[in-house]
């Protein structure tokens, strides 16, 4: 099954959060999920240690540039989704992880700084497509957005779409529950009911569904 590589050279863009939300939603829907923690800061491993790792999810850590291609191949099989979480740097590890991806997901906050740094990931994917000779689907997801989109947000989004980029709907909104995931471990459904948790669950599920659409549509080949 598919390989999703979450990549942006920008730290704090929301990569690890997006990786955990996607992984936990897909696992809840019945998929086996392998999360590859390729960040020396080990965000995903810390998440896994904080609480009960949900059923059907495995987290593998300490994967470097020498191991990434082989490790992805090993787990890329029917019934399993591989999600690669990377450090926010421009590294050879990032480029190798992209070479194995069915979908590259670039989370960014709606700031011009995030968008500019994220653009480096966009260029890298385009370059790799050229070298490999296959289409690599690439999408941007805005993170930590507010209910009312700021003017800056709208401007950046318009500019990205104008460049032909695929901007995902919905964005991952700024939500306490998403930040809490890393404090508590587990998934959104382990959290107590009440407050805005239902909205957070809907947001995460709709985001995961938008990812699946990109992985299953015909032009994903």
């Amino acid at each position: 099954m598919p390989v999703v590589t979450v990549a942006s050279p920008k730290g704090g863009a929301g990569k690890s959060t997006a990786a955990v939300l996607l992984g936990t939603e897909l696992a809840r829907a019945g998929a086996s999920v392998v999360l590859l923690d390729c960040d020396p800061n080990r965000s995903l491993s810390i998440w896994a240690e904080r609480g009960q790792v949900p059923d059907r999810i495995r987290v593998l850590a300490d994967i470097g540039e020498g191991e990434i291609i082989r490790t992805v191949k090993e787990h890329d099989r029917d019934g399993t989704v591989v999600i690669v979480d990377l450090e926010g740097v421009a590294s050879r590890l990032v480029s190798r992880a992209i070479s194995q991806a069915d979908l590259v997901l670039t989370p960014m906050r709606a700031t011009s700084l995030d968008a500019n740094v994220g653009a480096r990931a966009v260029r890298l994917v385009a370059e790799e497509e050229e070298v490999i000779g296959r289409k690599i689907r690439h999408a941007v997801v805005f993170t930590m957005t507010r209910a009312i989109r700021s003017r800056a947000h709208k401007g950046i989004e318009q500019s990205l779409r104008g460049q032909g980029l695929d901007v995902m709907e919905p964005p991952l909104m700024e939500r306490i529950a998403f930040a809490d995931l890393f404090e508590r471990g587990g998934d959104l459904h382990d959290m107590p009911e009440g407050g805005t948790i239902a909205n957070a669950r809907d947001n995460a599920a709709a985001f995961a569904q938008a990812v699946i659409e990109r992985l299953t549509s015909e032009d994903a080949t």
């Binding site: 598919p2 480029s95 194995q100 370059e127 809907d202 599920a205």
Partner: protein, 98 residues
């Protein structure tokens, strides 16, 4: 238990797609990435000295004074003794017009 979520995630369409790379493609990816500033960032795991390109050998027994002087000069310059022999041989050839 709980009511169904408003977004029903359907994973049935997900399948594996071929992504094989030829070994030379892998190195071309590394090169293309490097040009965009995506470079190696891991500490080198290799230990010890890099391999020497000096793979030829000469078999030279010399008088004791010569061997000590050659060893001392090589140590002073921080080069292998073979480097001095190469230099000496180049001078010899120049001298003889070889």
């Amino acid at each position: 238990m709980s009511e169904p979520p408003p977004y029903q995630i359907d994973i049935r369409g997900l399948r594996k797609r071929p992504k094989e790379l030829a070994p030379e493609t892998e190195s071309r990816i590394d090169e293309a990435a490097e040009e965009l500033g995506f470079v190696e960032r891991e500490p080198r795991k290799r230990r010890g000295r890099p391999k020497s390109p000096r793979t030829g050998q000469v078999h030279a027994r010399v008088l004791p004074g010569f061997s000590e002087e050659i060893a001392a000069e090589a140590r002073r310059r921080g080069v292998q003794q073979g480097v001095l022999i190469e230099e000496a041989w180049n001078l010899y050839k120049e001298d003889r017009g070889m």
